[in-house]
Structures are given as C-alpha cells and as structure tokens.
C-alpha cells in the first residue's frame, strides 16, 4: 500500500520541479528542463496508476470506502470554536488531507495521463519559443494545483487547487505578456473566475455553518443519513452557490466569457487547461457534491437548464467562427454544457463519462490544431488554410478521428458518452426534460456541423494559402505526433469502458463509480424520478438512431457547404440570414454588453457604469465629500481662529483692555500739559505765577 499511503507525493512532485524551474530554470538547458518537468509528470502518472491499482484492493477490503489520509491541520485549529446550524459548536479547521475514491481516481488517471502527453507534445511545440523553463514551470505548477484539487479531502483543499489552477491559467494565458490582448485575456480569466470563486466561497461558508466541517466524507454521510429533507432550502442555497463557482471555472452561462479569450495562450495550454482538465473542475466539484445536489431538486434543474442552454448557445457561436482555436474553444464550452446537463438530470456517472472521453478527443483536437498552426507558421485563420490533409497526414488522420468522436459517429468514444447523456435526459419523468433533450439533440447536429466545417476548411476543400505559407507547411516532429496518436487511440477505445447494456456492454465505467453515486441513484430517483417502464430498448434504440442521424447529418451539411470551398467561399448561414450570421460572428455581443454594464470599460453615452464607473463615482465622492468635510472642518477652524484673532485684537484687547487705557490717556491729556518736563517752562510758569500773585497782592 506504499503508493496509496503516500498519495500526497503525486502533487508534490510537480511542485518540486516547478520550484526548481523558478529558482534555477534560467540556467538549465532545455534537456534538463525536459528531464525535470516531463520526468516528474511521467513519475506522477506511474505513481497514480499504482495508487489506483492499490486502491482497488483497499476498496475491496474496506467495503468500497474512500481512502483518506490527513497530513496536518492547515487553516484554523481545534481551539477556534464556532456555533453552527445544529446548535453544537464545531472547530473551524481545514486539513491538508487527501482522498482517493473512484471519482478522484478517474480524474487522477486522465489528468496525469493526458497531462503527460501534453508535456511531451510541448517539448516539440515550444522548442523554438523564449521562456522555455518558465512555460514548463507554470505547467508543472498547474499540475500541482489540479492534482490538489482532485485529491483534496475537503472543500478548502479543493479550493486551494481551484484557485491554483486559476492562477496558472492566468499565468499561461498571459504567457506572451508583451501582447496586450494576451494580458487582457489573462486578467479576464482570473477576474471572471474570481466571481465564480466568490460564490463557491459562500457555498463553503454555508456548508461549514450547516455541517460544521468542510470534509467530504463527513458531509456526505450526514447528507445521506436521511436527516435532511429533500428540498431543504439550505441545501438549495449551498448547491446553487457551489454551482455558481462551477459556472466560473467550467465556463457556463453567464460566466463563460473568459474561455474563448483564453485561447491567447500557447496551444498546449489550451489543450491541457482549457479543454481537458481545468475546465472540468466544475464538473468534478458538482459530482463530488452529489450527495448535496440530490437533496436540492430545484438546483439540479438549474444545473440541467444552464448546461443545456450553454451547450446550444456556445455551439451556435462555434458554427461561424474562423479562428481554428476559437471554434474549439466554443466547442469546449458547449461540451461542458452537456456534462452539466448530465449532472443536472442526475446522471452523474454519464456526466463523468463524458468528461473522461472529452478529455481525450478535445485534447487531441487542440493538439492537432496546434500542429496545424505550427505547420502553417502561426496562422490560425481557417479562411487561409485548406487542402492540408496530404501535407500533414498524421495530424489530419488523428484530428479526423477526434472529429468523428466528438461528432458522435458510432463506434467512437464521444458517441457512447453523449448518447448516454441524451438518453438519460430523455428518460426523466418530467416533460420539461424532453425540451432539454431537444436542445441537446440540436446541439449534437451543430457540433457535428462545426467540427466537419473545421475539417473541410482545414484539410480538404481548395488551398487558400499564400504561396510562402504553402511552401512552409511541414509535418510536426515525433514528439508532437506520437502524443496525437496515443490520444487518437484513446478517442476510439475509451468509449468501450462505458458500453451500455443495450449494446451488449455492462457499463463498467458506471459500475466503477457506483460507490460514489450509489446512494444517489436511489435518491435522485425520488428527486427526479425516472420512468422505469420507458427504459425499454425500443425507445432507447430509436433515440440512438436519431443521435447517429444527428452526427451524420451535420457531416453531410458541412461537406455540402465546404467540401469545395475556394478563395472567397460563401458561409451558408450568411447566405441564408445575414443578421443571424453577424450576431453569431459577434458572439451575440455579450462581451460588449458586459463591458458596458459590468466592467465599465465602455461608456454608455455620457455615463460610465460597472466597476470602473462605480470606482470613479466613489473616488469623486471621497475627494469632494468626505475629504471635503475634513478639509472643511479644517477651514472652519482656521476661519474661527482668524475671527478669534480679530475679536481678540480689536474687541478684547482693543475695546476692553486698551479702551480704558485710551480713555485714561485722553482724560489725562490736559493734565499732562502741565507736566512737560521743561525746566524753562516750569521757570516761566513760576515767574508768571509769581508775577500774577504779586500783581494780585499789590492790587
């Protein structure tokens, strides 16, 4: 049980290597960087496989219980007691603890597996870029965060990884930091994610207040104990707040806006972070909280509706985009919508299954797109591509397989997972869910259309390249094509892990996850009851046929529209309805709307709204009103001091003190006339007096 007991080593390996990169990376050769950064991920993958293998025997011996390992108390302590909802105080503490159960095992395997392939691919893709060590340092830091997210045994640990992957996403989107658009996209990603994180944090606070702990196992056991009624308002609040967090991280309406812009990062980053792993963190978190979600049927409905709307919304934008990576970005948003739809209808295992298959074919699509961009010398606009199939055959073949998989062509991974979601949506006993099924079905047609549009515009049709570009085109090195082939293999065969009984399989994937969702299957049946009698094969087969039709239908439409596209080809949507086309091309103007209303980067007429507008108003208020009052108080003090000075000088000192003095002076003046101090005058007065006296006497 060595590997299982030391499961915390898995995230530790990449962070150690990242630390080496940050301190010494500048001085290391590319080979050394590869040895450290790729080597640790290979090790992490091997360790993960062994740990999961050991877990299977652990689970068999412990009644399918999750494996938990607590290292130390991280935040808080046993001494910090807080009152809780139950009336019993609970210690506020979050542990550095790790947990492995089937759910985290699946994430662990595909994150390290796909991560490893993408690391290898990156050694080829980034070979000629500056900041090689910085790139791999960030990539390893990302692996650390993602693994912490998956392996944490409580919400606080999950949040550590959650914010950590957000940071790495920020750093990697802004990797080309000299480009203004890249740093802006990076900021957007971080800040929009933070909005979701704020909601997630509120959810965590509510969880602690309600349950007195952040630990998954404790929360799950209380939630499943039957003490909490289904539809408990606090469960609804908690789950909606958590889902708010998921909307940020997993790019759902209305917080999806950052993901398409995130394509400013290097393509391997888009594949690893913005397609295969990080963006599925929201799905993981909701699946992890399944015990709470089943207690809150209204939240489940919100999740399903938001998921379905996001799926069709993003797919419709994807129909007309010209940048190859943007098509894939919107496709990712749309596929994530499918996953949430699955979670929302209570088909947790189906949602996770789609995460799993999507990780392979979407990573493959992005890496393939990267290979195309690499071959084209940086060109991303599909309008300037065409007829590349023969020039870069490996890229073409693998990407074509991934397209078949995502479009839902039978026999490949995406078909099984997507079909499972649609079938589960249909089979809920609520008419409203049929509407969601319709949305999901239309989205499937759109998915197939935009993916084959991408394939035709890039690999078939006529070459629309400039001559220099055409001359430059070359197949990518082995380090890039081998990961593509491995992923292509998985894109075909991963689906067979979840082969449904109706096709003669046993759905091993769902069985594997059974311990995690087992209780829900029963409870969600109450919450969102399924029509058992409808689980009859005829309808399932009928729907399956429709799904197949959707896949092939989209393909057929795309081949008609773009099969022979030459220079200046016509977009069919543009030809049919120009207004619709412009709206879609401009992504429904959501970005502009947000800039007017929420960020305040654009002025609405003379007024600036949003955060910046509020900031400017507050700043004016601060400088004029608050500081004005302070300065006013100072001014009044000085004014009253000046008045006091005047009063003192002229009234107190002038009238009251000097006044009597002046009076006395005035009164004394006549008297003073006799006291001039001149001896001659005195003599004169004496003489005059004497003369007068004598004259008086003689008379």
């Amino acid at each position: 049980m060595f590997f299982l007991n030391h499961i915390w080593v898995i995230p530790l390996m990449p962070i150690a290597s990242a630390a080496v990169m940050f301190f010494f990376g500048r001085r290391l050769s590319k080979q050394a960087v590869n040895a450290f950064c790729v080597g640790t991920i290979v090790l992490a993958f091997a360790w993960s496989c062994l740990a999961v293998y050991q877990y299977s025997s652990y689970a068999a011996a412990h009644d399918n219980a999750p494996f938990e390992k607590v290292l130390f108390t991280w935040a808080g302590s046993d001494g910090v007691m807080l009152p809780t909802h139950s009336g019993h105080p609970a210690p506020f503490k979050a542990e550095a603890g790790f947990l492995l159960d089937p759910l985290s095992a699946i994430w662990l395997l595909f994150v390290t597996g796909v991560g490893m392939l993408i690391h290898i691919y990156s050694t080829g893709y980034m070979a000629h870029e500056g900041g090689y060590y910085r790139f791999f340092g960030y990539l390893n830091l990302f692996m650390f965060s993602m693994l912490t997210l998956i392996l944490g045994n409580n919400y606080a640990m999950l949040f550590v990884g959650w914010e950590g992957v957000g940071l790495c996403s920020y750093l990697l989107i802004g990797f080309y930091f000299q480009r203004h658009s890249a740093s802006t996209a990076a900021n957007k990603a971080f800040i929009v994610n933070r909005i979701g994180d704020a909601s997630f944090l509120m959810g965590m606070f509510t969880i602690f207040w309600y349950f007195g702990t952040y630990r998954f196992t404790d929360i799950t056991s209380v939630a499943r104990s039957g003490q909490i009624a289904i539809g408990d308002p606090w469960m609804i609040a908690i789950t909606l707040l958590l889902f708010g967090g998921a909307c940020g991280k997993s790019a759902q309406l209305p917080l999806y806006v950052w993901l398409p812009d995130a394509m400013e990062g290097p393509t391997p980053v888009s594949a690893l972070i913005h397609a295969a792993t990080m963006v599925t963190a929201g799905v993981y978190m909701v699946a992890r909280s399944n015990a709470l979600f089943v207690l809150a049927p209204p939240s489940m409905k919100v999740v399903a509706i938001v998921g379905a709307l996001t799926a069709i919304f993003a797919a419709s934008i994807g129909l007309v985009q010209n940048d190859i990576k943007r098509v894939l970005a919107y496709s990712t948003v749309s596929q994530l919508g499918y996953m949430f739809l699955a979670l929302g209808v209570g088909a947790f295992a189906a949602g996770v299954f789609h995460v799993f298959t999507h990780a392979f074919f979407k990573a493959l699509l992005f890496l393939g797109a990267g290979s195309v961009i690499h071959a084209m010398g940086g060109e991303q606009d599909m309008r300037n591509m065409g007829a590349l199939a023969k020039k870069i055959p490996t890229t073409f073949k693998t990407m074509f397989i991934a397209t078949l998989a995502i479009a839902g062509i039978p026999g490949l991974a995406g078909f099984f997972s997507k079909d499972e979601i649609l079938w589960q949506t249909w089979s809920r006993n609520d008419g409203a869910f049929r509407a969601l099924w319709v949305i999901g079905f239309i989205t499937a047609v759109m998915t197939s259309f935009y993916m084959f549009r991408l394939i035709y515009l890039t690999f078939f049709s006529q070459s629309r390249m400039s001559h220099e570009a055409e001359h430059h085109v070359h197949e990518s090195p082995k380090s890039m094509t081998v990961p593509l082939m491995v992923l292509a293999f998985c894109s075909v065969f991963a689906g067979y892990l979840g082969l449904p009984p109706s096709l003669g399989g046993t759905n091993r994937f769902e069985k594997f996850l059974h311990p995690v969702f087992a209780a829900e299957a029963h409870q969600s049946a109450e919450a969102v009851p399924a029509k058992e009698e409808e689980h009859a094969p005829p309808i399932e087969y009928g729907l399956m046929l429709l799904s197949i039709g959707a896949g092939f239908g989209g393909w057929w439409l795309a081949s008609r529209a773009y099969g022979k596209a030459g220079k200046g080809y016509v977009e069919p949507i543009d030809a049919a309805a120009q207004a619709v086309y412009t709206t879609l091309l401009n992504k429904y103007y959501v970005g502009e709307g947000y800039d007017y209303l929420f960020t305040g980067r654009k002025k609405l007429g003379p007024i600036r709204l949003g955060a910046i507008g509020l900031g400017e108003a507050s700043w004016k208020f601060d400088a004029n009103v608050i500081d004005g009052t302070v300065n006013g108080a100072g001014w009044i003090t000085r004014l009253s001091a000046a008045f006091s000075n005047w009063w003192d000088k002229w009234v107190i000192d002038g009238v009251l003190v000097n006044g009597p003095a002046i009076l006395a002076k005035m009164v004394s003046y006549p008297v003073r006339l006799f006291e001039w101090g001149l001896v001659q005058w005195y003599a004169l007065v004496m003489v005059v007096g004497l003369v007068g006296f004598v004259w008086y006497a003689i008379r």
Binding site: F72, A75, G79, E163, I195, D197, T206, F208
Partner: protein, 529 residues
C-alpha cells in the same frame, strides 16, 4: 534576560537613537550602519520571545509581566507595567521585523538630514512597541502620543511635495481621536475609584470594573474609544488622512504606517473596546452598535477597493487598498466570534507583510524613476524580471490566493462573519473579486506589454540589499499560507478569552434548535429559485 525581555526589546531602538546622537551628522554612512545594526539588534533580540512565548501559549492572562501597577507615579496610580498576550506578541514580532526592513530599505532613499531621520525612526520604533506592551493606561497613552511626533516629522520633513499638509492632517486627525480616548480613560479611572476606592491606571484592574458601567454611560465611553481607534485603523469615513499621509511619506514611513501604525487601531479594539464594553457590544441587547460598525467595515471593504480601481498613482492605489483590507480586519473583530477575531488578527499580520511589501515595491520604482504615475510605466517585467516576480508574489498574497498568507486571514474572517450573518459575508465578498481586479490591472499596466517609455529601458533590477528586504516577507507569506496552525494556536487563548468576556453564551451548545432558520434570512441567490 528572560525576566526583562520586554524592556530590552522595548528600549533597544531608543538606545540606538541615543547612540546615533553621539555621531557627527556628516558621517552619513556611519549613521546608516549604526542605525541598521540597532534595528537588526532590535529584531534579533525579540526572536528569543518566540520559543519562550510558545511554551506559555496556553496559559491565560498576560505573560512576561514586568513592573507592577502604581509603581511609576504612585500618587496617581500610574505604573511602569508591561506584559503581553498572544495578540500583542504577534504584533510585536511584526513591529520588530518591519522596523528592521524599513530601516534597511531607507539606505539610499534618504540623503538629507540622515541623522535626524534615523533617530526619529528608532524613537518611533520604541513608541510602537510600547503601545503593544503597556498594561497601564497612563503608560499606554504616553507611548500612543509619543509615537505621533516622530511619524509627524518623518512625513513632514522627508515627505513629498505636499508633505506639510499631509503631516498636519495626520497629526491633528489622530490627536482628535486621542483626546476623546483620554477623556474616556479618565472616566474609567475615576469610575474605578468610585467602585473600589483605589486610583489606578492598571489595565487588568480596569478590566474588572469597566464592564459594570451602566449602558447609558458606557455607550459614550465606547464611542470615544471607537472614534479614537477608528481614525487610527482607519475605518470609513475617517480614512481620508491615510492616502495623503501615505502618498507623501517616504517609503519606509509608509511601510511602518501601513504595517504597524494602523494596527494600533485594531489592537485597541481587541485590547480595550471589546473587553471593557461587553455591555455595549451585546449583539442581542444592542444590535445597532455592532450593526453600525459592521456596516462601516463593509462599506470600507467595497468602497476602498472601488476607489483603488481608478487611482492613477500607485501609492494611492495601495493606500486605498489598505482601507479595504482593514475593513476585513474590523469586520472580523466585530463578528465577535473566535474565527472572526483570529482571522482578523491574522489578517492584521498579513496586511503588515503584504502591504508593507507593496509599499516597498512602489518605493523601488519611485527611487529609480521619481514618479508613481501608473501611465509612466509598462513592460517593466522585461527589464526587471526579479522585481516583477517578487511583485507578482506579493500581489497574489495581497489578493488572498490560497497557499499564501492573505487567503487564510480572509477566509477565516469571512467564515466568522458568515456565522453571525449570511448577509455580512455576502456583502463583503465582492471585495475579494475587486482586490483581484485592481491588483491585476495594475500589474498589467506596469509590468506587461512592451517597454514603451524610453526612460524605462535601462532600469536596474533589484540590488541584493533590496532583495534582502523582501526575503523575510516572502518567506512569511508562504509560511502563513502553508502552515498557519502555530499562529492559530498562539491566538487561541487570548481570542477565547475575549469571546468569553463579550459573549459568554456563544459556544454553549443549543440543543434542539428547531426548525430550520426561516428562508427570509436566506441569501440573495435564493430569491431566484
């Protein structure tokens, strides 16, 4: 040494100031060396406190007591009476650390009147330490006022263009608060005499009598203390002296001002307002008192962040971000539960670390380019990569990224606030989003993009001395982020004691609390269901 550790720590900087007086003012480098040696000595000599205090952390009451009540001026009952608990211990360690860092950072920045500068700085250091150590109100007030003068001079002599305005504003505003506080102290003093027949300024003794003052007197005393401390923190709307003082102060002055001086306000709340006036703060009998303070805190959080967002001067931006961060601290204190108080104290330390570092960061660019206008910069990470990396780490710490210090504080405060009222946490939490916005936007404008301004092309990256200033701060940021448990353990005892005094009933289990709280209290998001 063990028995006199507090006095030694307290007077080491003052001794340094006296030694500096003996050096001729022309010998600037000698002065710098001596000042740095004494500030380093001040830090090193405080380090033994860590293991010593750790051993005593679970004991109740004040530790390392020195002197006794009524021994200094017995006729009025004033004493040289020092002692610390977990709260003051942490703030003292922060003070000795930041004191050393800010003196180290001033090496090149100060060229005029070098001698006076260091003398005043060391005097300031003693004043600050005294405030945190004093257990006698008279002594406390002496230190409290004594600290104002050096800070006033540091801003007024070595400050920027509007230094006189800023210095006088700082001095008068703070003095206004102190005067009110003095009146309240005197009331407590005479009240103690009325009750016990003895005159004393001893804080532990006043703890016994003050809570018995009837509410209609106590509310005025509380207000007098509150205004004094709220100005110091500063809480909205008493904050406008802060941006002016920060913008004009020299870098080291800003570091100390943000790092330590502001904490005197929050320290005052924890040391005096809460234990003296539980009758005023009783959330059930007088919800409005606490409600008002919390409202001001939340306004401070959001408003400070919004104003930060639109600043064009980096230092002013950081100054307003302090208003926002200190709003979290006061929110935590007046949540009046253990998580709130612990989180608040931790966040005070964190703010000292992160914001102290942010002022150093701004100061480094200012020393090189003599401007703090954001628009003057761009693409700095091309020319100063080490500086850019350190800045990124400190920005992340300031915005509360997990595994760095800021997160632990904010998280604990918000959880504490949430327990008291869902709405408080909900209103405060946009501050977290805004913090990311103003910091990342600042980072983008200063560090990312190409170097557009030719004046920035040849900027020198950090010197080893400058790196040395940041190293302890970065290490602490990571340590608190990764393993804050020891700090929580140090805070547990004093915080429990405060909660026990203010709300004796808080953590008694309330059994059979039925039914589930009404949905009217529920979160805004629930309205949409």
């Amino acid at each position: 040494m063990y028995n006199h550790i507090l006095s030694i720590v307290l007077f080491t900087p003052l001794l340094g100031a006296l030694v500096l007086l003996l050096i001729p003012k022309e010998q600037k480098n000698a002065i710098r060396w001596v000042a740095n040696l004494f500030s380093l000595a001040g830090l090193l000599i405080s380090l033994p406190l860590i293991p010593w205090f750790w051993a005593l952390r679970t004991q109740s009451g004040f530790k390392f007591i020195e002197g006794a009540p009524n021994t200094w001026i017995p006729s009025i009952g004033a004493g040289y009476y020092l002692g610390i608990d977990g709260i003051s211990f942490l703030l003292i360690m922060l003070t000795t650390l930041l004191g050393w860092i800010s003196i180290l950072s001033s090496w090149n920045a100060i060229q005029d009147r070098v001698k006076e500068y260091y003398v005043w700085f060391l005097v300031l250091q003693t004043g600050m330490l005294g405030v945190f150590m004093a257990l006698d109100f008279f002594l406390f007030f002496v230190f409290w006022e004594a600290m104002l003068v050096p800070m006033y001079l540091l801003i007024g002599i070595w400050g920027g263009p509007r230094k006189l305005y800023a210095a006088i504003k700082f001095f008068l505003y703070t003095l206004l608060g102190s005067v009110l506080m003095l009146l309240a102290i005197l009331f407590l003093y005479f009240h103690h005499h009325t009750v016990t027949g003895a005159y004393t300024f001893s804080i532990p003794e006043l703890y016994q009598t003050a809570p018995q003052i009837p509410y209609h007197y106590a509310i005025w005393l509380f207000l007098a203390f509150f205004i004094g401390f709220a100005i110091k923190v500063p809480m909205f709307p008493f904050h406008t002296w802060l941006p002016d003082a920060h913008v004009e102060a020299p870098t080291a002055g800003s570091v100390i001002l943000a790092g330590v001086l502001l904490k005197m306000g929050t320290y005052g709340f924890m040391r005096f307002s809460l234990p003296f006036f539980p009758q005023v703060l009783d959330p059930i009998a007088h919800p409005a008192v606490r409600g008002t303070i919390i409202t001001l805190s939340i306004i401070g959080i959001i408003y400070g962040a919004l104003v930060s967002l639109v600043q064009k001067d980096m230092k002013k931006l950081v100054a307003y971000s302090s208003v926002s961060h200190l709003g979290f601290c006061t929110l935590g204190i007046f949540a009046l539960n253990q998580a709130g108080l612990s989180g608040s104290l931790l966040q005070q330390i964190n703010h000292g670390i992160s914001t102290g570092a942010l002022f150093l960061i701004v100061g480094i660019l200012y020393e090189r380019r003599h401007t703090r206008e954001i628009a003057e910069y761009g693409g700095i990470s091309n020319v100063m990569p080490v500086y850019a990396t350190i800045t990124m780490i400190m920005f992340l710490s300031s915005m509360g990224l997990p595994l760095l210090n800021g997160f632990i504080g904010e998280f604990t405060i918000l959880q504490g606030a949430f327990i008291e009222s869902k709405a408080w946490a909900a209103w405060a939490i946009p501050g977290v989003v805004l913090a990311a916005s103003y910091l990342l936007w600042l980072y983008q404008r200063v560090f990312f993009g190409p170097v557009n301004n030719p004046k920035n092309e040849k900027l020198q990256d950090l010197t080893p001395r400058e790196v040395l200033c940041f190293v302890p701060l970065i290490l602490l940021a990571f340590w608190i982020g990764l393993y804050p448990k020891p700090i929580f353990q140090i805070m547990d005892q004093p915080v429990q004691q405060i909660v026990q005094t203010v709300r004796p009933d808080l953590n008694k289990p309330v059994l059979a609390q039925t039914p589930i709280p009404s949905a009217a209290q529920a979160l805004p998001v629930e309205a949409g269901k």
